[in-house]
Amino acid sequence: MVWSSSLKNKCFFYMRRMLKSKTLSYIIAISLFIGFLVFVALRQRTPINFSRLAGYESLILEGFINTIIVSVIALFGSIILGFIMYLMTKSKSQTLRTIADVFTEIIYGTPLLVMIIVMAFLIGPAFNSFNRIVWALSGIIIYITPYMSNVYRSVFKSISDEQYMAMDLFGFTATQKYRYIIIPQVLRMLMPPFMNNFSLIIKGSALLNVISHRELFFTISLFQTRTFAYSEGYLLMWLLYIMITVPLSQLTKYVERRWSLE
């Protein structure tokens, strides 16, 4: 009697600990999602059959790679343009600040899809340029720019006035201040929000299909119209985006924790 009751207690103890454990809860949550996917897949009119992908691997890979290429370009573009915009908002010139302000409002008010279309089909042609991908990509860059500018603002603000006073008092030269104190701090703090915006860009880049750029969304659509394997295409498309963005967000969280200075 005594033995069995203590054994029972032990069992309960371990079960409760397992239920509380993070790993287990993740396994449950992810299984739920996979279960849902399976349910959805099984409910399609024609059974899902991934072997229909055969022969189209390189097309889809091309889309996958192009998505990453345009996203990386847009990331760096908006990192640079965002910094310029940040400098404008900090400028002594009222005109520059107002320009930054007005542009920000206009960009905030524009859906990304509209921004891409306007850039590629309206503004580009106004400059006699029909290089749609360049204009559309600029559209994404411009769309993200105010968000990047905000990132810079909050990061630079987090270096306190007293820290600057301390640097002055010790007699750091301007170059030394940036090189040893400001930039090393700023870089750490910029990284996680940059990565978050990168994820936004990757997701937004799917909209480039409206200008027939051969990114992931577009190449999968091509595959679908050629094979009529619509369900397979959508499922694959979804999984491929998640395969990039979820690890990216995990990495972001890791970097955030690892580099936190708070």
Binding site: L169, F172, R188
Partner: protein
């Protein structure tokens, strides 16, 4: 130390310091007290040469506060610690010594450890500021300020962001610095610390020095303002 303040006036929107005069010699620890907004921090920053006054002059030990080399002889500890958050406590000190004083790595490290040890932080030296307590961070700020070997150490309410236990911890470390042969000018709300540590006290009220003298003046205040203040802080 020898302090001469002449016609010191400073305004932001209104006058914060109003025509101050002071001529003191031979004191080593000057405590500044007064209610919030009376101009203590402003006075301290001007004395340290961090801020330029609108009018008047400050001269300490024969050197004017607007002198190029003035700040080299000064250490300043702010209300909240100003350690550089991406560097360890040790690196916070060595970077200052190496980059701004041109001291070589080994010597810088030795000096840094010496000063951290003096403030009881030798076992914390490789931690970042976010990994130590507020009191330890503030003591590290003091160690950093000391490590450039200043003649005068300024402290502006170094404990106002700390709880009572950490306050005690920091203030008793400061008291132990008495033997270093340095001079101190400090602002604090902790009256017992003023009585223990200061050898001269300035009581500020609305931008003027309303009463001054040795710390025993706190037990027998002459002006009503200081009387009220002492009743409040008790």
């Amino acid at each position: 130390m020898n302090i001469k303040i002449k016609n010191l006036t400073h305004a932001y929107d209104v006058n914060v310091l109003d025509d101050l005069h002071l001529d003191l010699d031979g004191y080593h620890a000057i405590g500044i007290i007064g209610i919030s907004g009376s101009g203590k921090s402003t006075l301290l920053r001007i004395l340290a040469g961090i801020e330029k006054p609108n009018q008047g002059t400050v001269e300490i030990n024969g050197q004017f506060a607007d002198d190029k080399h003035y700040k080299q002889n000064i250490g300043f500890v702010f209300q909240s610690h100003t350690l550089f958050p991406h560097l360890t406590l040790l690196e916070n000190i060595t970077i200052v010594l190496e980059k701004t004083r041109g001291i070589d790595k080994q010597t810088a490290k030795k000096t840094a450890i010496e000063n951290l040890t003096r403030l009881g932080l030798d076992d914390q030296k490789d931690k970042r500021p976010n990994k130590v307590s507020g009191g330890q961070a503030q003591r590290a700020s003091i160690a950093r300020a000391l490590s450039v070997n200043p003649d005068i150490l300024f402290l502006d309410e170094p404990t106002s962001s700390l709880d009572p236990i950490l306050t005690d911890e920091v203030l008793s470390s400061v008291e132990k610095l008495k033997g270093l042969g340095k001079d101190f000018i400090f602002v604090t709300h902790v009256i017992s610390f003023v009585k223990d540590f200061a050898d001269y006290v300035l009581y500020m009220d609305q931008g003027v020095i309303a009463e001054q003298g040795t710390p025993d003046m706190l037990d027998n205040p002459k002006t009503d303002a200081l009387k009220n203040f002492m009743n409040k802080v008790r």
